[in-house]
Subunit: 293 residues, 2 copies
């Protein structure tokens, strides 16, 4: 199965995108937008940073996927990405992490499942399958809305993220290599099939058959599909409290070594799981993507 | 009256400072600390960024004063100051904006008076005079705690802030020129005696006698005391929704021109009152202070 989607430019034109807020930042504009999503059946927000270069030309676009508990807000206020994005001429799209307000029983019972924990999958299990479709939301609906309404060049798109969003970025790029031409991650969950966060999410959204989980596990996807794109860049703090129990960077290192996939895994001495870690290495990631795009 | 305080190094040694959180950031350490304040009669938190240089030497120290509704958290997560502070070797202290949890009737009734709105004054009116002593807290107690417990050089201290905190930075520096050797502000309230926020705060904390307000009004202080320190640096966004009604940068410009006080007032085209504005020009302010210190 090839899920490397083609653009369907007609779709987005039927949708209305509302600007919730807008602030000048490093010569560009940081906005928050909202729209009614067909995939997630609710209003979805996403952050948009447009660099000054976007006033006169279509610019490359980077998608940022956030981690557990986050909204579209965390990245845009905490990551400090706008300065370098302005310099390099990169647009950055930062969506929310799940549907909200659907009133599905249990949706808000835990921080690692349901609201703010969509895990970037298309759920197949009721009641989640109705609207927990973050994979299709990110790769199709949001991509099309952004491509058709903003001054970006969809042929130069990359993706990156943090923790659950690092998992999202890796799996989405591995499944859509012709759409996302560059991928990196901060402290990603590299194999949700083999950690408590992932096992809870994947069994809840996809059911108990672990074969179905391979589509959403970066290490399995590398085994099943390989990766012919540029080097995967991954930063991991050595003082990250989730590294050993949930993130397990060694599993990614192992499969990449075994299969000859280029991986630049940087163990960052003394850094934890926070945005203080992310902001410290944001510039490196933006330069990495700009080079690839 | 000269309020240019002398250090009292004995005081701080009686106090216990607790580290609430600590994260490596740009090679240095971003912490949040807490202590029981004698001035404000409650536990007070403050952010501390120590650059890598502080591991081997005492470094210059900058105090950041935040605006209305803020805690010690806003600056440290949103301003993006750590990168340049690490490069320049500057420590940055970011205190909370008022006492909290005192259960004074009315303390939480409005966003612009009481909690998170201490205005960096020593209140003289009951019930506020008991603990709303942010002026003494910043200039004496916090200064002494920081100087005696952290690897900073108190002889090289500067101060800056935003909005209410820009007012705080200007008034505190103008009253203590030998302690704070460099001052700058983002979108400061330049004359609280002449705007609704300031009139509400100063009448509430200091009473109706406007003569007493002069001690806490940057334009009056410049008239009364002058300023022999380095150029005052002030950035003001032209799309700031509070510029005309509350901030009134023209009043600062007028008095500085009239009295020959060096002021670099930069009107930043299109910027608003948010941290997107602050972060865009943070680097300039840090380089300005590093040069002065």
């Amino acid at each position: 199965m090839n899920e490397d989607n083609q653009l369907a430019p007609g779709l987005a034109s039927t949708m209305t995108v509302t600007t919730v807020s807008q602030s000048k930042c490093f010569g560009g504009v940081q906005s928050v937008c909202s729209h009614e999503s067909l995939e997630t059946r609710c209003a979805m927000r996403f952050g948009v940073y447009l660099p000054p270069q976007a006033q006169t030309a279509r610019v490359p676009v980077l998608y940022w996927l956030s981690g557990l508990t986050c909204t579209e807000e965390n990245f845009i206020v905490k990551a400090g990405a706008q300065r370098v994005a302005a310099e390099l001429g990169l647009a950055i799209i930062a969506p929310d992490t799940s549907p909200r307000g659907l009133k599905i029983p249990g949706e808000a019972d835990s921080y690692d499942f349901g609201i703010a924990a969509g895990f970037y999958v298309d759920a197949t299990q009721a009641p989640w399958s109705h609207a927990y479709r973050m994979y299709s939301y990110i790769t199709k609906e949001l991509f099309e809305i952004v491509s058709s309404t903003l001054p970006v060049d969809p042929a130069r798109a990359g993706i990156f993220g943090h923790s659950m969003g690092g998992h999202g970025a890796l799996t989405i790029a591995l499944k859509n290599p012709s759409r996302y031409k560059s991928v990196s991650a901060f402290a990603p969950i590299v194999s949700p099939s083999r950690c408590p966060w992932g096992e809870k999410a994947l069994s809840g959204y996809l059911g108990p058959n672990r074969e179905k989980w391979r589509e959403y596990d970066a290490t399995s996807l590398i085994e099943d599909r390989g990766w012919k794109g540029p080097t995967l860049l991954v930063d991991q703090g050595t003082q990250d409290q989730f590294m050993e129990s949930q993130l397990k960077p060694e599993l990614l290192l192992e499969v990449c070594k075994r299969l000859g996939i280029p991986l630049n895994l940087r163990m960052q001495q003394g850094y934890d799981h926070s945005y203080y870690f992310i902001s410290s290495f944001m510039e490196d990631h933006l330069r990495f993507h700009a080079k690839n795009l």
